[in-house]
């Protein structure tokens, strides 16, 4: 045990573990500092293990002061980690985190690629500034931990090298050089980082303080702290939680003596331990336990630790369902707050420039609000989607390039908020970017008034202040470490700076608090519940660190796995002693269903007792079922497939409608009567509909052209190619993406094949007679009540010798064949061909010599690009017409039941409940049960 001459003068006060250590501390401070009606602690600094404990101690002090009616000057109450700042004089200003990060980044930029790779900076073809910035985080952390223990990288290397098996010399050499260059940069800036400042103070024996320092829970002080305390020994009082048997478990700095704690047995009774199988079960156990307290404690008196974040939602929701609100005091990051989210969305859009990112930026509530004001309308987003769905925007410029005045207006409005795109695309210094982003935020949020009393608004307001601070930091960067970077990179700096920023919202007074393990230990609620009492959570083990594996940590005297275990054992010791009620809950599986081990801390008894506990954990784990009061629930599905307003009358119907009805009557109603449309952001390629339209237009143009009688495939081909190109450019875009180009080329290939077929067809005497014949229609008698059937036929040919007619429908998508039109029971699968036939029969066209119907196939398979025509027999025709009649009758009776066997998935499946297990089935009367 290290004993230092001056360390002798550090004063130690013991605190009885049966007491709340915080109350004991408050009382001790009262005894020490209160004189008459004055309790002046302005010269005292109190260090506590957690910031939560700091808050609680302040509260206790205020309570005493108010109860005793004394004039209080509170002491400085801070976490132990901040204590060193009261123990030495700073000779230089201290760099902010951001400055340190950028100093490291600047230092990293001076390294060669191999060196960078060696210390874990991902280097691909070129060195990205953002990679350097990213790496600086890791290095800064390493520096912080080592410097906190008085080591430079060089020192660490030397100590590591004592191990003959050590293999990472090269890496640490680079780290050392990097650190030297970092110090150089800091020197030039005339600033210190805090670790270096402390270290120098210790090394130069310059520690001293006017304050009286008291520290509670100094169980794991780092080396710097220990040395500092030695130097100011007489001013220090350590409050140590121990009884006579555990007194020897602490050294002169109040730190734990590992050997002592390792062998100490901490009793945990079987009642204090319960095991849940899954995360949900752990939560249920917590509720059961709290429920059994039978109202003896108030919400303030209960604290629940969730050392594993993943359990928090389970706990929150289960306890919530038990009628009690829970407050998560583990803190929230601000990344979800509106202003931060806005910047993230902007960054994403700037990075990929995809339509989907563009749309997501527009959907941000603040952007949406500003744009709605600017455009003076509210349905602009819906309109945009419709416009865009007609284009094929993968990158947003594509859409810009095509004249949609609506899109342009939106883009202009957006530019008013974000500035013009040229500026956003240039490289600027971080100091400049900070102004840009400040302006953007100001333009977006000026005029947004929130109420501070509203917790959500408070969250936003705080995040805005943090953002403001971050931008301010950035703006103040000195030139030497300022970097020229892109808009996205600058946003990365801002966002990363905020990444770890936590916001702690105020706890409503009637809520149970959920906190971290360490917070719980230094809390003083009489009821304590600890969840996830599993190995690797309590105690944690940190293995596999790329720079500091456990062995090296041990050598350097850093916190290693053994110390982590010992610390948690001490904490468990405190917990067991100071609480009226204690429950430890362990899990068997984590959220991902990985097996969990019980904590080692649960097994510090004799082998038989341990064996029994182990068997209990394996076999008696609890898995309460979801509890639902079944009686109160409906037995039958209540989510109806919406009933449809009956059709008053059916005056007309199109040929293709029949086929839709055949697939699913309900979908017919939605798609053909209500004509509902659907949109998605992810447009990756031209869809079938667009390609079909394009092909049809081209073929139509051909039918109207002078070449329509050509028998030379080369001429036809040339025509079709050119037509395709100009149409595409006119109607879709000038700039095409490779994928669209391929699609176009494919279509071109099909048209090539078609040219051959067309030429042959003309050679065989077929002349194009009608081309995209508009709206052929004819009254169709159904039970004396006629309906108008309409159809648009792609093309009608007539043979110059036989004078027969041929009705042709062009198909570009799924394979169509005249052979598969009728199923084995003689039922038509599609009524398209017979109905065209019927329509033509009654038209002015001369069809005395017979009619052929069929497809002009332009489908996927090149071999199958051909004209596929048949002649229909009278029986077939009549069957088809009768089938059509049946459909009309059904429609007139408003029979629109969904087809129960929909084989494919489409946008309507949610409405029709195609995948739903308990699908809603209308009772025969058609009413909901």
């Amino acid at each position: 045990m290290p004993l230092n001459a001056s360390a002798q003068s550090i004063r130690t006060v013991t605190i009885d573990p049966e007491q709340s250590p915080l109350s004991a501390t408050a009382n001790w401070l009262h005894r020490q500092y209160a004189e008459g009606a004055i309790w002046d602690m302005s010269q005292a600094v109190v260090g506590l293990p957690t910031s939560r404990a700091c808050r609680r101690l302040l509260e206790l002090i205020v309570e005493i002061a108010e109860a005793e009616h004394i004039v209080l000057t509170p002491p400085v109450i801070t976490t132990i980690g901040q204590i060193p700042e009261y123990l030495y004089r700073r000779l230089h200003p201290v760099a902010s985190d951001l400055m340190q990060r950028l100093a490291w980044t600047t230092a990293l930029a001076k390294l060669g690629r191999d060196e960078l790779r060696l210390i874990g900076c991902p280097v691909s073809d070129q060195v990205n500034w953002s990679d350097l910035f990213y790496t600086s985080r890791v290095i800064a952390e390493l520096h912080r931990e080592l410097a906190g223990n008085m080591y430079s990288f060089r020192d660490a290397l030397e100590i590591a090298s004592e191990n003959p098996q050590f293999r990472d010399h090269e890496r640490w050499e680079v780290l050392h050089r990097l650190q030297m260059s970092y110090f150089q940069i800091m020197r030039e800036l005339g600033v210190w980082d805090i670790q270096t400042a402390r270290r120098l103070a210790v090394e130069k024996q310059e520690c001293g303080t006017e304050y009286a320092i008291c520290i509670l829970g100094s169980v794991d002080l780092n080396r710097t702290m220990q040395r500092m305390l030695d130097q100011v020994g007489s001013r220090v009082t350590l409050l140590v939680v121990c009884d006579s048997t555990t007194r020897q478990g602490f050294d002169d700095w109040g730190c734990l003596v590992p050997d002592f704690w390792e062998s100490l047995a901490i009793p945990i009774t079987d009642d204090q331990l319960r095991v849940g199988v899954r995360p949900h079960d752990q939560a249920q156990i917590v509720v059961d336990f709290l429920g059994r307290l039978n109202g003896k404690f108030s919400a303030s008196q209960i604290s629940v630790a969730a050392p594993d974040d993943e359990l928090i939602p389970f706990l929150a929701r289960t306890i919530d369902a038990a009628g009690v609100m829970i407050h998560d005091s583990t803190g929230e990051t601000i990344s979800a707050a509106a202003p931060v989210r806005l910047l993230s969305l902007a960054a994403r859009y700037l990075e990929y420039e995809r339509y989907v990112d563009f749309a997501n930026l527009l959907r941000h509530e603040t952007v949406f609000a500003r744009l709605s004001e600017g455009l003076q309308e509210t349905d602009w987003l819906a309109r945009l989607e419709r416009d865009v769905s007609r284009l094929c925007p993968m990158k947003i410029e594509l859409a810009f390039s095509k004249g949609s005045s609506h899109l342009e207006r939106i883009a202009n409005q957006l530019a008013k908020l974000f500035g013009d795109s040229a500026s956003l695309r240039s490289r600027k210094c971080l100091t400049e970017w900070s102004l840009v982003w400040r302006d953007v935020l100001q333009r977006c949020f000026t005029g947004e008034v929130v109420d501070r009393e509203n917790p959500q608004a408070k969250h936003v307001a705080r995040s805005m202040s943090y953002l403001n601070d971050a931008l301010a930091e950035m703006e103040a960067l000195p030139e030497t470490i300022d970097a020229k970077c892109s808009a996205i990179e600058s946003l990365q700096v801002v966002l990363e700076h905020l990444r770890d920023r936590q916001v702690f919202s105020d706890r409503p007074i009637n809520t149970i608090e959920l906190m971290g393990w360490l917070d719980l230990i230094w809390d003083d609620a009489p009821v304590a519940v600890v969840t996830s009492f599993n190995e690797r959570t309590i105690p944690q083990s940190r293995n596999f660190h790329p720079f500091l594996p456990n062995g090296l940590r041990n050598r350097l005297g850093l916190i290693d796995n053994r110390l982590r275990f010992v610390l948690d054992k001490f904490r468990l010791f405190m917990l067991g002693r100071s609480r009226a009620q204690l429950l430890l809950v362990a899990g068997r599986r984590d959220v991902q269903n990985n097996p969990l081990l019980p904590s080692r801390l649960l097994f510090n008894r004799d082998a038989a007792a341990n064996a029994r506990r182990l068997l209990k954990i394996i076999h008696h784990a609890e898995s309460p079922l979801h509890h639902v009061d079944q009686a109160s629930l409906p037995r039958q599905q209540q989510f109806v497939i919406p009933s449809l307003t009956p059709l008053k009358e059916l005056k007309q119907i199109s040929v293709t409608d029949f086929d839709v009805y055949l697939t699913c009557p309900y979908r017919f109603y939605l798609a053909r009567i209500l004509r509902l449309e659907s949109f998605e952001d992810q447009v990756e390629q031209m869809d079938h509909a667009i390609i079909g339209t394009l092909a049809h237009r081209v073929l139509e143009a051909f039918g109207n052209s002078d070449l329509k009688d050509s028998t030379d495939p080369r001429h036809i081909r040339k025509f079709l190619q050119e037509e395709l190109k100009t149409r595409f450019q006119r109607e879709f875009s000038h700039e095409t993406l490779p994928i669209v180009e391929i699609q176009l080329a494919n279509l071109e290939m099909r048209l090539d094949m078609f040219s051959e077929q067309q030429a042959n067809r003309r050679k065989a005497g077929w002349i194009i007679e009608e081309n995209e014949k508009p709206d052929l229609d004819k009254q169709f008698d159904v039970d004396g009540d006629p309906v108008l059937i309409k159809g648009r036929i792609d093309r009608i040919d007539r043979n110059e010798t036989s004078n027969r007619l041929a009705i042709i429908d062009f198909k570009t998508s799924i394979r169509h064949s005249t052979k598969t039109q009728i199923d084995k029971h003689g039922v038509w699968r599609s009524l398209q061909l017979p109905l065209y036939h019927w329509l033509v029969q009654g038209s002015e066209l001369d069809c005395n010599q017979g009619i052929e119907v069929g497809f002009g196939r332009l489908g996927q398979n090149l071999d199958e690009i051909e004209f596929d025509l048949i002649e229909l027999s009278t029986t077939e025709l009549n069957d088809a017409l009768e089938q059509a009649r049946e459909i009309i009758r059904a429609i007139r009776k408003s029979q629109f039941e969904p087809n129960p066997n929909m084989p494919y998935q489409d946008v309507y499946q949610g409405i029709c409940q195609d995948r739903v297990f308990e699908r809603w089935m209308p009772t025969t009367s058609g009413e909901t049960p």
Binding site: L293, D379, P546, I739
Partner: protein, 1064 residues
Amino acid sequence: MNPLTKNQLIRASAGTGKTYQLSSRYLQLLAAQTSPQEILATTFTRKAAGEILDRVFERLAKSVLSEDFANETARSIEYESGAGTDFFGLQLQRLLNSLNLLQISTLDAFFAQLARAFAIELGLRQDWRMIDEAQQSLIITDSIRETLQHVDAREIIFLLNKGETDIRIGELVRTTIDQLHETYLEAPESAWLRVEVQPVDDTVIQLIIDELLQLADQCTDKRITSRLKNDVELLRTQNWPEIVGHTLTQNVLNGTNRYYNKMLDDKILQIYQQILVYSRSKLLVQLAMQNRGALQLLKIYDQAYQRMEMATGGLTFASVNRRVAQLFSKLTPDDVNQRLDQNIKHLLLDEFQDTSLSQWQVLKPFAVTAIGAQENGSLFCVGDTKQAIYGWRGGVAEIFDEVQTYLDEASELAELTESRRSSKVIIDTVNQVFLNMHLVPHSEEASEFIASWQRRFTLHSTHYPELPGFATLQEQPEDSLISLRAYAAGRIAELANQHPGRSIGVLVRTNAVVNELAIHLGRLGIRASEEGGNYLLDSAAVNLIYSLLHLIDHPGDEVARFHVTHSRLGEILELSPARYENERLNKQHDVRDGRMDADSIDDFCQQARTLIGEIGLARAIEKWSEQLMDQCTLRERTRLLQLVDMAFGHVDHNEPLATFRRQLETYRVDDPLQADVRVMTIHQAKGLEFDIVVLPQLDCPLIRPGGGFVVGRESPTKPISSVCKFVNKQQRPLLSAELLQAYTQQYEQEVNGELCLLYVAMTRAIHALHLIVSNGQKPSQKKWQGLILGTLVSDQNDGEYLWSAGNSNWDADSRAARESSDIDALISTNPNRDRQYVRQIELADLSTGVRMLPVGSPSRREGGQQIELGSLLRSSENSVAMKFGSLIHACFESITWLEAGIPQDSLLLERLAEVEGATQEHVEAAIRQFKNYVQQPNIGRLLSQNTYSIEVPIPKGFADRSGMYRVENERPFAIRQDESILQGFIDRLVLLEQDQTVLVADVIDFKTDSLRPGDQRAEQQRVDWYRPQLEAYRFAVSKIFRLELEFVTTHLVFVATDRVVKVH
């Protein structure tokens, strides 16, 4: 011989107690004083890892508590000198003390640890994380998008797509990538270039055509003439596949040289041989280009993927594994041990047949070291090549055989064939099928591989011959009108009703069928859950929320809008159906109007987005779901709760809603309600057992129809040597022997895989096995059902069944038998099973022990309760000003009265060093400025003892103002104010004291706002802004010194304009 040094390789057939063997080995090592950190035990699934752990713990614990168990355990681990409970007690303590060092995990988890330890060497970001397949699919999609934008993409895809005109390029590319990316990563580039092309002279073609025409003229056989003429056309259109594919050329190729049973004459033969040479060259050129095209595409894609992987920091297990494997080829086990801080000496590898080559690459050095280490290491492998069903995921059963070659003579090789799971009927059925399947009518492609599988199969037996059982093979009746799946569902429903309380596993080959069956069963009122769960979209309520989310993103989406507005949710959210619905209903088939309804939907969506922004998606979904709860059946309710769980668990706040909707489509979630029937794929059933197993999908082919690419290796454990686009049977004779070999390998793998699946499926059954096939199937080696029919069914029809064995009354029999079977004395039934859970929490009222009041500080009250967000950015015009402000404050705090002088620069410097983020330059500037400020008249008067006075009345009872002004700079305070603690510092507090009693107090707050001199309005605005803050100070001071408020004044000092403003 010390059992420890013995390396062991155990082939354990299904149900023969693999886990027991493995746990025995673990205990054996432990008993030999091996440290747990020297033992690595791995398996493939999390479940199996959990089972191994439990088994080790349980056996050890029992051996501590019972002499009998101790003896039994000692026997099973061949521990000679009778180890007793004490001995095992020591081992248990040792194990428990090193729980943190335990290495019993999935291989994936082990590799993830390795990757963490070697993050730098692997070039990984420090914060990389594991992602699952659904998350990966997002990265894949983005990478494909990027690939398709690549300049070269067009040409490549064109190549790849040659002969096809499918417009769905995205899908084509995705399929190619899905199939080949792993191959690309594994195969050397040369493997893609294996098609050898001999160029031909293009002028020959015209000669051939002329000759064909000539021959056609001469030929008298009509059929041949027409063939010749056709071929002329085919040659002209360069339709090589057709030319090579027709019967005549095929017959020339295979040497029969006949056409319509007639020998071809020489002339024809010669010309066709020429044609073949020519076509072959043409086809191979095309094939080679396609291979190259695929290679290039994958190259581009892989670059994009790697970039995305880096950018997101998300790695899949496969990716981690590959990286680690690459790295480990350069490291020694010593390197690894040093970094891991441990020394892995003993390897226990479970399910060894599923090990992939890249996994083996990592394990092999450990294994080889272990084998060679004599006493200091050992290897233990257990597995079953008959259960190698993960070939598609890279599992290579042949590694099992390879390992055998590393072992020395002392090693133990064992085969276990006695089932500890299945009844005799089941085992007999398994034997009958797998011992006789080679006798079933042949299929040329599969029979060779079926025969070799059969040879590897050893007769199985059972440990429980008395266990009752039943097996049937049933055919869907001919007159049944429903689909086979629907029929099977009906049968399963019957079984579920007949055997309540029995576990029923319905095992199928594909995921699609799982879903189909689950829906059918669900509709028959049978609770069916799939291992790994179903999509939440099997719930109507979830669908509704899904549509709502879609609508929020896309206010113009009419389908989603229809869904939401015509539902209970629409009512709750007060969304009425769109007006256009009625208009369209009445104006049928008019040309669609381009106008949208401008109505409340846009507002609603904006509100919803704002809500999500404020409280998060999860809470928003929770809120909406709660409103639907009263409508829900038990199952719907459960699903909604799971939806909320999913939202809480998976949502990243910055991901768009679409990502969450995508998750809903991709993730399966267990239905936690007790399921009567579990439906799952056979892959998922690995390691499970059921009282009753139903196999309703037996129409699986042993060889799948070809397509995609064929991958060849010299041998299964060797690296890939060739990759080639699949060609049909007709063209295959044109390929080189090496490529042909690849086809054989592929077929062998497929057949093996399918047989393994069938074996795994059948051996899951404990008591009963029911096989269901469609009507009219024949024995054959083409499909599973053909093998089953061919091996089980003899001529006579067995009434209801095509075939059956055992006792249909097995259930009653086994229930009777079960009563008597002995149960573990040590572990009585779980007392928690019937525990009554308290579901409501009652709390004492608030007055009891109130703690942890919120802490507020006055400076947070600036601007008052209503605050404009933009102003929070304006509050300090720029950061320099902010830093400057802190520095100036620090300066002012150093002054009590000016008369006492301004502190020395050095002292100020020291003070100012406390201000974080300021540079030396800032500090010096601030000091200069401060000196100017104090020279100003108003500020000078305020800080000067001679001129300062508080302009408030003195409390009654104190005659005069005489007394002492006391200054407290940066005066800390903490008080309770209502339900909060108010804490802060007062810049300068001047107290007038008389007889140690504070009479009046003046709060002075310094502000560095840059105001224009004389701008009264601006100043007034700032004063209003700060007023709430000063009010708080005033309150605090009055409370601390117990003064009435009227005796506390407050002043704002704008140092830049030398203005001292009285606020209170």
